[in-house]
Each structure stands twice: as structure tokens, then as C-alpha cells.
Symmetry: none
Subunit: 196 residues, 4 copies
DNA sequence: CATGAATGAGTTTTCATTCAT
DNA sequence: GATGAATGAAAACTCATTCAT
């Protein structure tokens, strides 16, 4: 039996606290003490586990991206065991994305914040770049099972991911009464599938 | 010749200085003194022309949006005099958007920052909402000259604007060597025009 | 016919504006622009008519004290023409003081502020000192018409003025529901007159 | 021996520093850094122990009033053990007040400042109100041991406290060479005792 | 005289970071 | 590991004062 918590667990506790905080305030307006309060730990400890405030942010972003990569991978594995391919696979993928990622408002809000940070911070940008490339590639492969045109599949995939991110943005910025996000999302995705 | 500058000119000088600053640092890391230094005026003057720092931001965002609305309107007027309609109009519009807006990197970077601010600030969000609604409506009307199906046109328009914003994001976050923005943009737009 | 207002009038207009301001905020929280706004003049003008902010204060205090000295002198003259003396004179004097000075809440509030300024400012203190000495002497002379004991009259006068100032303080600090200022004032004054 | 000072001690250290400062400058001209310098602590620490500058002031005023209430209570207890009553008790009380309170110039100066703050600040005023009511009531009870006329005792008490505050004011504003405070004080108090 | 833009010193406040216990 | 007092840099904001027009 472990006598003390795994130090990684405490770090995760802190990163989850930052996640909570980012639902309320942007990172720059979130103080170390805010995060510590939500995490239920002493603020001095954050400097024990992390080099400085920016280090918390970097590790948080890696943590968030890893989390959603896992989600994605788990879904992929479940699909592969079912041996689905072609248009049906893409369709299922869109369904998964819509509910778990694109229209997950808490996640989208945090991601808009991450975009803005990445726009000014090359390290964060690098992390994001890799994630988007992996995501586009994964979708591209799926599309390719239906088209057998890798170059076209990649372009469609890139455009689709751009569209999804635009919709994630709109789900936060625009109001549902003037914009039925779900209808626009699924309508467009249907067209994409048709053109395969 | 006017002996004293129009006070509006000085405000614009300050807002342009903020614009410069936002190419380097996010708004939260931009101090009043930073803006004053770039504007070449005393920092106290910023408090003479603006109520507080947030007021500078709000007026800046209104200024930026107005600026691009004007660009857009000027383009619209130039098109109307040419009496163009249908697919050709939409095609020209995409050309205009791509070069002047979506792939205008300085603009896109600033807009990502504005998105993040809007995500946490309802007043800013309201300003953005109206701008996006106008933009979507304008495109929708253009599409409708080709389709005569207002509901479908609106959905396509909304999806297209989402796609453009996603591409603007990618132009900042991703690197051109892994992602040929222009090709993805034009490729997708071609498909949209085909489906009209 | 004078072509322009007497400059003294404009100064008085400014001093009256400060008086208004002091009903709302202490002098230190009253800005030059506040005073200018209430006076209905440009704030730059205050530096034309007065050396600096403290000069406005000094001249204001002199103005207030002169104003109440005039009030007092006018009353004195009206009494002398009636050839009243002794206890009746003192009684009338108290009546005058109570209504015009001690229970004049706006005046008392301003005076508490002046006391605090004088406590830290020797110049202002000198002005106040002279005013209190004149006041005590004047009352002392009145009392002496009844007692013919100058030393005793002076002491009673000094104590009475102290009492009146204490009552002015209480009229501002305490609430009428727990303290009937008028009753305490007149009750005590009656005793003083009895002991003459 | 405690390894770390009681945090209350540090607060008192800061409040005492403010007390020192108020002997030199009014509260509004006393900066947080001034107080910190006198207290011998870092200025940031003042914001650790107090919410803001006004909070320091409020706690300071409560501290001063509590301090003098304690002085008063200690004196009361020492009197009760001696079982003194009637005129002798009142006489002793005046002696105590004169030396410890009314003619304590440092205290009086600070109190004039507090009056001025209270004149514009309802919270501070409430604190002062209670203190004066307690003071008047305590004196009233003492007077009543000699008179057995509660209503008259209360009025005399209120007037006497007003007189004492007026004398405290004069001890700061007027100069001893023109005004023998002690003589006026004791002379008047003697008359009060005679009328009991 | 009158205006109001411009200056810059000074103030409160926040907060990441350090470190003794 | 954990705590919370202490530090000091930097920020927004205020405002008396100056001065060109």
C-alpha cells in the first residue's frame, strides 16, 4: 500500500484545478492562489511541483491535449474492433467529434484560450501544431478508406478540421438562438460525406 | 490648416498603437505605458481619452471591426456597380476574403486574441456576435442569388464563415510547410461553389 | 459700466464651489476639476486666480471665517442699537449662535474639516486661532456686562465656546434620535446664565 | 517561546505605525508605504494583513477606541474597589479624564482627524457614535449617584462630554500662551460639581 | 482671460516568487 | 512535503500643474 499519494496525482489535481479556473477567468487573470484554492492545496506547493506559473500552463496544455488524444484513441480502438470503414466510419467519427469535442462548451472555451496563448507563445504553438497534425492525419486516413485519393483526402480532412474548430469557436461566441450549431454541423458533414 | 488635431485622430493614434502592440503581446501583457510608448504620447493621456484600460480595448475592437466592415462594404459597392451575381459573385467574394481577411496574418492573430477576450467578456462577445451575424447574412444573400433557397443558403453561409475562421486560426497556429493554406482554402471553396 | 466681472467675484464663485464640494467630500478627495465643475468654470482658470490647490483652501477658510464674522458683527450692531445688556444680551447671543452657527449642520461639517486641516497646518491654525480668540473675547465682554469680573468672564466665555464647538461636533457625529441637541444646548446655556 | 509572532501582534505593529504617522500627517496624506516604513515592514505586507487602505483605518480607529475604553474601564474598576461615590467620584473622574484623555495632545490630534473622517464616512461615524454614547452613559451614571435625577444627569453628562471634546480641540488649535487649558477645564468642572 | 491637451510624479493594489519554520 | 509570512516588481489610475493656442 502506498504511504503517500503519487506526486503525479497531486500534479493532476493542480492541473484539474486550473481547468476549473479557466471556466471562469482567462489564464492571465487566474492567480496561483486561485488555482491552489480550487485544488485545495497551499499555494507555495505549486512552486514545488512546477517551476513557475508558465510551467503550470505548459503542462496543463499538454495534459488537456493528451486527455483528448486518449479519448480519440479509445474511440478509434472501439471502431477498429468493429471493423467499420468507409463512409460509415467517417459518419460515426463526426458523431463522436460533435458530442465529445466540438460542442463540448467547456472544452471549446478552454481551447479558445489556448489558441490565444499559442498565438504568442512558440512552445505552446508547437504542442498544438502536433496535435492538429495528428488529428488531421487520422481523419485523412479514415477518409482515404472511402476515396483512395490520399492528397484529396488530406485536403478534405484539413478543411474539415478547420471547419470543426470554427464551429467550436462559434459555439462559444454566438448564441444558440441565432445559430443552430448542431444543424449547421451535421448539415455540412453530410455534404462532405456525400462528396466522398 | 487646423491648429489642433482632431481629438478623434489622437484616439485613433492610440488605437493603432494598441494594434501594433497586439502583434507582439496579448492584451493582458500589454501595459498602458506600452501602448503610450508606441503611440508616442504620455501614458497619462490614455486616461484622458479613455475611461480605463478596458475602454481602450472595447473601442479598439469596435474600431477594428468597423475597419473591416468598411473594407467589405467598399468591395460590395464595387461589385454591385459591375452587376455581377450568382456563382461568379461568390467566387470573387472568396478571393477578396482570402487575401484581405482570412490570410491576413496580422489581422488573424489579433482576432484570435479578440476571440479569447470575448469568451470571457460578454460585452466584447456582443460586439463580435453582431459582426459575425452581419457577415454570415451578407454571404447568405450572395449565395441566395445562386440558389434561391434562403434556409440552405444561410446554413451554407454559416458553415463557410466557420470554415474561414478555422482557416484563419490555422494560418497562425500551423506552419505553412505542413499546410498549404491557400490550396485548402480555394479547394474547399471550389466545392462549395459547385454544390450551389 | 464695468466691462468685465470683478475678478473678486469669480474668486468668490470658486470659493463657494469649494464650499459646495465640502458638503460631499473632504478637501483631499475634492479635485481641482470637481471645484471647477461646480463653479462652472474651466479648471485651468483656478490656477490663474489661485497659486495652487492649497491657496484655494487657505483663501476659502479666510472667506468662511470672514463670512461668519460679518454675520456676528451684523448681529452685534443690531443689538447695540437696541441698547440691550446683561443677561438678556447673553441670552439673545446664545439664541443667535445656536440657530446660525452651532446647529447649522452644513457649517459644522465644514468646520470639522477645517479643524482637521488646522491640526496639521500651522498657517490655517493661525487663522483659526485668531477667530476663536475674537469670538471668546466678544462673548467675554458680553458676560462682563453682567458680572464685572473680567477674569471670570473670560474663563466662562472660553469654556462656553469650547462647549459650543463640542456641540457642533456632536450635531454631525451623533444622531438626533439619541441626542436632543437643542435641549442639551439650551439647558446648559440656561445654567451658565444663572451662574452669572 | 513561540517561534512565530502572533499575527495579531504584527497587525498591532502596523496600527501603531499608523498612529505614529498621524502625529505628522493626516490619513489622506499618509501613504501605505509611509506606514510600512514606520512599522519596519514591507509595504506589500500591509495588503496581506488588511484588505485595503480603508480597512487599516477602520481597524485603527476601533483599536484606538478600544484602547481608551480599556483605560477607562481599568480606572472604573480601581474606583469601584475603593467604593467612592457622589461628588468625589465625579471629581476624580474629571481628574482622570483631563490628564489621560482631554489634555493628551497626541490623542486629541488623532481624534480631530477621526472626527473629520467620520463626518464623511458613515461606518466610522457609527463606531464613534457608540463610543460617545457609552462615555456619556458612564458619566451620567456617576452623576446620578450624586443627583438621583437620571434625566438631568444625562443632559449634564452630554453637555460635559461636549465641553471636554471642545477643550480637546482647543488644546490642539489654540496656543497655551493665550489659553490656560487646565484652568478653564478645572474651573468649569468645579462649577458642574457645585451644581450637582 | 479661457480652454483643454499634455505631463509626470505619486498612490494603491496585485501577485509571482522565495524561504524559514 | 507543507505552510504562510515576507518581498519587491510592476500595473492601473489620479491629479495638480503647465502651457500653447
Amino acid at each position: 500500500m502506498p504511504r503517500k499519494k503519487n506526486p503525479e496525482e497531486k500534479k493532476i489535481q493542480i492541473l484539474e484545478a486550473l481547468n476549473q479556473c479557466l471556466h471562469e477567468k482567462p489564464f492571465d487573470k487566474t492567480s496561483i492562489k486561485d488555482i491552489a484554492r480550487v485544488a485545495g492545496v497551499n499555494h507555495g506547493l505549486l512552486h514545488y511541483y512546477f517551476k513557475n506559473k508558465e510551467d503550470i500552463l505548459t503542462q496543463y496544455i499538454e495534459y488537456v491535449i493528451d486527455h483528448y488524444k486518449s479519448l480519440f484513441n479509445d474511440w478509434m480502438i472501439s471502431q477498429q474492433t468493429q471493423n467499420i470503414g468507409g463512409k460509415k466510419l467517417v459518419e460515426d467519427f463526426f458523431g463522436f467529434m460533435n458530442t465529445r469535442i466540438t460542442l463540448n462548451k467547456k472544452l471549446s472555451k478552454v481551447f479558445i484560450e489556448i489558441w490565444a496563448i499559442a498565438a504568442y507563445n512558440a512552445d505552446i504553438r508547437t504542442i498544438l501544431q502536433q496535435a492538429y497534425q495528428e488529428w488531421i492525419s487520422a481523419l485523412s486516413e479514415m477518409l482515404n478508406t472511402a476515396t483512395n485519393d490520399p492528397a484529396a483526402a488530406w485536403k478534405t480532412s484539413a478543411a474539415t478540421v478547420a471547419f470543426l474548430e470554427g464551429m467550436a469557436l462559434f459555439s462559444i461566441i454566438l448564441t444558440p438562438d441565432t445559430f443552430d450549431f448542431n444543424q449547421v454541423l451535421t448539415g455540412f458533414q453530410k455534404k462532405i460525406i456525400e462528396t466522398l
